[in-house]
Amino acid sequence: MAEGSRRRIWLGRGLYALLCAAILFLQLLPMETMPRRWGSPDFVLLITLAWAARRPDHVPAVLIAAVFLLSDMLLHRPPGLWTALVLILTEVLRARARSLRVVPFPLEWAGVTAGIVTITLAYRLVLSLTGVPQAPFGLTVTQMMLTIMAYPLVALLSHLLFGVSRPAQGEVDSFGNRL
């Protein structure tokens, strides 16, 4: 029982890392060299948030930091800042994971939405304070909106495909602690 549960946690972590690597890989494919008017949803962020809200033990903070720092480096973002903001947000979600579990889904969605909006604005604020040239505001806003709208989809898919669902009330981990 204890063995099985621990193995599931490690499987979950491996799956998370693999998914993020796959998404990064798809983004890097040289298909689009034309600038776009809209930004597609940030799926790495969505998966991270959905899993942090639902199964925090599958996404340890160090793993999140590693994934986002790598994507900062590969996607030519200012290194570290976005990673730090996402890490803070996932810690907040992690601390609230238990109370998020009992509320209906729209409330969970609203919480995540507030988080995404906050870190996006904070990101732009810090960049403008430090005088880093930024992408057009419209692009950031469309990406943020699409990311928020895609959250239910990602939550549903990670529930159906990877079994990342909210633990039922009273479910216990290998040590008999309540999840």
């Binding site: 890989f25 040289p30 298909m31 790598l70 973002r77 200012p78 990673t83």
Partner: protein, 313 residues
């Protein structure tokens, strides 16, 4: 309820909280370091990309190939239509070619009369696009040539026709090309018939605007725009594109390079042109060379290299 709270405090134990705090501080520190000393961090970034992306290459090539196949297939459907258009364009082009040939001959004769020395011939290295920037906020591509092939930061990059961007970040086997459409791209250009200088400032659209035009009234849509070579950044007279009037009434540039599909790019080896920085240097040398003792015949070879050194710098 009380038990629940005790547990959640146990879960987020103070040690863990401290460690997360340290991690966040480290990340923010990295960001500040990047802001203060960006070249160093960018070099690390180029190093990481150089490690990671080429290892994806085996997977990237087939996937990209399949995607291109699909888009090629779509373009076959329009083949008949394209063929007709091409024929018509060919007719036009033949007339232009005739005109160009005549002009070239005339040019050659005039140049011969004037004894003009033009810019040194440019040579280039061609690379294949490995990856794009992966995010809609950055317009850059990764080439499969790097320091190994002698690529240097700042060299201009063209596709066959026009300027596409410049090298920014070189790894051992890969280098990043900052495209003209990126928000941080600024290129000094000349607008052709009027000879005005302007700056081409990328803004994440396919038609970047022209900034700092001296006299916008004498610039018309359709004017050719070439690099000006100001600041020694680029060699002069590389075609960049044509002026168009954007929907926001600003003068913008339709780029000559085909950004729809950047597949092979050529990196121009831009030689450092001779530059005159000091004011008086043209009239008299800044520090006259030391009078030297007459060299013994055996020393002549060694002495010659010594005498040339100050002239290089």
């Amino acid at each position: 309820m009380a038990r629940d709270r005790a547990r959640s405090e146990d879960y987020v134990s103070p040690v863990r909280r401290l460690l997360i705090g340290v991690l966040v501080l480290l990340l923010l520190g990295l960001f500040l370091l990047w802001r203060i000393d960006s070249p160093r961090v960018e070099r690390v970034r180029a190093e990481i990309i150089d490690r990671v992306v080429p290892s994806f290459e085996w997977a990237m090539a087939p996937v990209t190939g399949v995607a291109n196949l699909v888009s090629d297939f779509q373009s076959y459907q329009r083949l008949a239509e394209q063929n007709r258009d091409l024929r018509r364009e060919l007719q036009d082009m033949k007339a232009w070619r005739e005109a160009a040939l005549q002009l070239e001959q005339e040019n050659a004769v005039l140049r011969d009369l004037n004894n003009v020395r033009l810019d040194p011939e440019l040579t280039w290295v061609t690379g294949v696009v490995l990856a794009d920037s992966g995010s809609p906020f950055r317009q850059s591509v990764l080439l499969n040539v790097g320091a190994h092939d002698g690529i240097l930061d700042g060299w201009p990059v063209m596709d066959g026709i026009g300027l596409a961007g410049r090298i920014s970040g070189v790894g051992q086997d890969s280098s990043r090309v900052l495209l003209l459409t990126d928000t941080s791209s600024r290129i000094p250009v000349t607008i052709q018939p009027s000879g005005q200088r302007a700056v081409l400032a990328g803004d994440n659209t396919i038609t970047p605007p022209l900034d700092f035009i001296e006299d916008p009234d004498s610039t018309r849509p359709g004017d050719r725009v070439v690099t000006s070579g100001d600041g020694g950044l680029f060699p002069a007279d590389i075609l960049v594109g044509q002026v168009v009037r954007g929907t926001d009434r600003r003068l913008r540039l339709r780029l000559a390079a085909d950004f729809e599909r950047l597949e092979f790019l050529r990196v121009l080896r831009s030689q450092k042109a001779e530059r005159i920085d000091a004011n008086g240097a043209l009239i008299a040398p800044v520090d006259p060379p030391e009078p030297q003792a007459q060299p013994a015949p055996a020393e002549i070879a060694g002495d010659r290299t010594g005498a040339e050194a100050p002239g290089d710098g």
